[in-house]
Symmetry: C3
Subunit: 438 residues, 3 copies
């Protein structure tokens, strides 16, 4: 029995059923060329471990990218006992036991070398076999990637590793020289004004959709407010951004507005869901470890997005909010807007205490056909299973308590709801544009 | 045994006791001339069903007001399976079983015609008998209405259907020609300036109180901030509003401020509780179905209301907040201000997950004599019972877990607390001005 | 068995263990010269009782400071039945039973005189013995005080009653004549400009640290935003403040900024933790009873403090937030910033419903070595035990449910975590600067 199984017998029974299903993971940061880890350092390098260990006192230098991988792993391991209460540590232990055959109870300075050896798949040719093994053990059906807009999307099976167009740089960093260079290089469009900018971005959509992309995604800071674009009036600001001139704050805002709105128009045109990840502020803590510098400002409201949701009724917006206390608002907006889909439990909200509360409210007040239960957000394939198991357990506990005992449902009816939320909804919502689910 | 009864034996025992009491419902939108439904379409027309079905994919045209009622019901029924996880659906099933004798497990395309037939009370004379039957089955003691300020309040027993003066239009729409026309027509006051405006509003209070009104009520958007009125300085803005001239934003604000403050003064004068429903923004989603277009901005604080609560110590303010995450703040303000009363669980906050959390904090930290447990907010009488039962169950579960098992209280002591919150407090807080509770 | 013990057998077992440990209380308002109460009026005078009774209808005059103590106690007692549902009332009952030998079930008009007699320790010499008795029954190891900056800190054992430098007046009231007078009188520094102001504050730090202070503390309103000080540019504003001239809002802000930043610099220099109590707005309800006039605005974010946390990596910031809905954000900031420590559960957030939710999220997502479980915030020694017992119970319930049953931990491992959070972390985080824990 999985260590993730809940103690309540009824919840456990439901969990075991749910855990036997394939996983459909609609958002991750997996590298399709190297999906599973090659060594333990790639697992421990997940920002959760480095940032929590750093938060607990580990100097950033101990996980410096310049160190040999095993040394980094050893250094980190010496700090793991300080975070062995966290849910993130529990994922690590589940990975060690499920995938690496680890038998111990703790991952620490004593056990790290054994575990490192067990987790080593760096030998020539071993990696690909390991990727397949993790995929199979996880019982993965599909996992969505987060591809930079100039990713050629070549060299993998896109029905398994599904491309997704990440657009942060286009909206937030258009004024940086590198962005326009990359855009021109990947589209062969000479970008000089609003019109050619739109042509270039449209070319990205065409390229991505032709290669199997099934979503466009962006993460947006709390101060971003979608507004209807004004292409003619914004012409000057956009030209200045493209030519890397200094922009005033209002010009920056015009550029962000225009590009974001253009993306929404193209999502409408190409029938692509537009994943909105709302909340992060980058580099709030510059002294943090890599990947552990971003936070948020909790003063954010989906009301800022109403004009967007209203203007694009044909675009599905799977929405994730970062601040845990914003979860209840997402329930209300999903309950009113047909095109707002509550999407998983993200990053700082991806903690059992917060997930359980959000999951309960969503399942009590949002149409069941609109719920996308979970995504892994993982960087390495090994994390998909323990993260989904955490969610599956909380879902099973809700179903046992609230639905079966609380409302008198049969276990089968409860499992139907779980299947919808975990499999059928994401398959349908992220199906191939113009076609079936795969 | 009611389907709403909780599974825990102790909680169930408490629930059954509580469920045998009469219901005192201090806020609803019942039409006293037609309190219960005449057909199933009037039940299914509750905005919860149309908006949730619409959110789940039903075109608004399928519940167009121009369609024959049974067709609307059939259309909606085809979408109900998509929302059968929601608490709102559970109210519907409880209504069907309790009031209409429905035996099925699901209300869907197959069962809708049978249910429509069972729920039909449209024959001449059948309606009034049905109103009485629902009243009695519900064991209603009193239900508060929400009357437009020009409602003549005639033709019903106001000790059962208690009038309440709704003032949204006066505060928020005074500049619209229709408002002044209605105000003049209902008061015979020629409204032309601040003074005559006050006279007219005072006439409304007199009229309402004489006809049994026991509360004044208003719903306010998140950007409204009560301020002490400045009648002399606001004279010009009010004149411009009354004569329907264009107002600048600051003039609008002056008018809203003046009228709202006048209402509070009159509540003090007439000893009427002033129900504040804080949060909704109207027509956030213009494409929604009727009644399903309003949402909120979660960035709201009761701190904005401190000046009001301080200035009117003699006015009782039953407060409902719309954003679920604002509930904890209401606990703090109710704990400090003698005249702030936490009032029920409203609209987007009226979901078991949110109610349970708010109820717990209120019962742990606010004087028990100040808690108004619940109101139905219903448009049709049939909804009072299932909505109250939802609350009663959550209350019973709290009492069983937190009070009896957790603090060693006797069941009787727990029931006394329930009785206070559900019956004695609202009876006392909303008693007839200058007199007894009814 | 303590009345605070939880009903679940496993949780009770853990609670009984935890309840046998000493208490380390890192924040209170105890007066070291008179730590325990001399009579019941000093217990009932805790603002929780006066403000809740006032909120429930008691006129403020009934607890007027001019009344004889026993009369005040009698007056209050007549209102206690209206708040006997609150957790605050449960502390009172636990005090009465544990410390005063009270046998009853209710503290009310009937029992108040008996209880008053039992609680009387006002006879000459009785007080000191009573202080020792309460200390021993509580099994106190250390309790932190909150000392005004001009407190001479003389006349008690500072290893038991640990001084803490309270700095609210310096930051928020520097422009008031009294503040500068007190500062000059206590430091003998002639304060006239930025430089001499800093010298004076530095002298306070030296004085406090030499006399055993182990923290600097401040409570800050929601509109305060820490910014890097600009001593040269702020020279003029500071001079105007020191000479009590009228300040413009931006000058006030400059002064607050400069003094606050100076405090942080001195905390770095002296290796003192800087307790931040974020949120209260003073005198929101001027009509309230003493100590019951402050509230908050929930629109506050720790993001405003990121620049502070980043600039002072060497200063430990134990953070308490006042608005209960801000608790989730503190989890995220503690998880990223090594120097941000989530500190207890404060005031309006110190309610079981809120504590349980916050405690769960912290224990699931913040390194265990950073958690400071609880502090009493008490004014009289008798409150330390019941308030800690409330927390201990919630902690035991979390450990039983989430760790032992939920994750398969042994009871010993769960108790290790409890010990860390309640004893080892606060001992280490608040250890004597430059030395050991005591």
């Amino acid at each position: 029995m999985s260590q993730a199984a809940p103690p309540d017998p009824l919840a456990r029974e439901l969990f075991e059923q749910i855990a036997s299903w394939p996983i459909y993971d609609p958002h991750s940061h997996i590298d399709a060329h190297r999906p599973a880890s090659r060594n333990l350092d790639e697992v421990l390098g997940y920002h959760y471990y480095t940032e929590l260990a750093h938060s607990a006192g580990m100097p950033a230098a101990e996980v410096d990218p310049g160190l040999p991988p095993q040394q980094r792993a050893r250094n980190l391991a010496r700090h793991l006992h300080r975070i062995d209460n966290t849910v993130q540590y529990s994922w690590l232990l589940e990975i060690a036991r499920t995938f690496f055959g680890f038998q111990g109870d703790r991952i620490d300075a004593d056990s790290i070398d054994d575990l490192y050896r067990l987790a080593d798949h760096s030998a020539a040719g071993a990696g690909e076999a390991w990727d397949r093994s993790v995929w199979e053990t996880t019982n993965l059906e599909a996992v969505f990637l987060t591809n930079e807009f100039d990713d050629p999307l070549e060299g993998w099976d896109t029905s398994k590793y599904v491309p997704c167009l990440r657009t942060d740089d286009l909206v937030l960093k258009l004024h940086e020289p590198r962005t326009i260079q990359r855009l021109q290089a990947s589209t062969n469009v000479d970008v000089g004004d609003v019109k050619s900018l739109r042509l270039a971005i449209a070319a990205l959509f065409e390229y991505f959709v032709e290669r199997g992309a099934r979503a466009c995604a962006i993460s947006l800071p709390p101060d971003f407010v979608p507004r209807r674009a004004t292409p003619v009036a914004s012409q000057n600001s956009v030209r200045r951004a493209i030519t890397h001139m200094d922009l005033r704050p209002d010009e920056h805002e015009e550029v962000r507005t225009l590009v974001f709105w253009t993306l929404a128009e193209l999502c409408a045109e190409w029938n692509l869901p537009f994943d909105l990840m709302i909340g992060p502020i980058r580099n709030v803590y510059p002294g943090g470890v890599a990947g552990g510098r971003d936070l948020f400002d909790r003063r954010v409201s989906l009301h800022d997005y109403a004009v967007l949701f209203t203007h694009f009724p044909g675009v599905s917006f799977p929405v994730s909010t970062l601040s845990p206390d914003a979860g209840a608002e997402l329930v209300a907006f999903s309950w009113i807007f047909p095109n707002v889909v509550p999407n998983g439990h993200w990053w700082y909200s991806n903690v059992p205490a917060f997930i359980a509360a959000d999951l309960k409210a969503r399942l009590q007040a949002v149409p069941k056909t609109k719920l996308v239960g979970y995504y892994s957000d993982a960087y390495k394939l090994e994390f998909v299973l323990p993260k989904f198991n955490m969610y599956r357990r909380l879902l099973a506990e809700f179903l046992a308590e609230d639905c079966v005992r609380g409302r008198g449902w049969s276990a089968d009816r409860a499992l139907e709801l779980a299947r919808l939320v975990l499999l059928e909804n994401p398959r349908r919502l992220f199906q191939r544009p113009g076609g079936g689910a795969g």
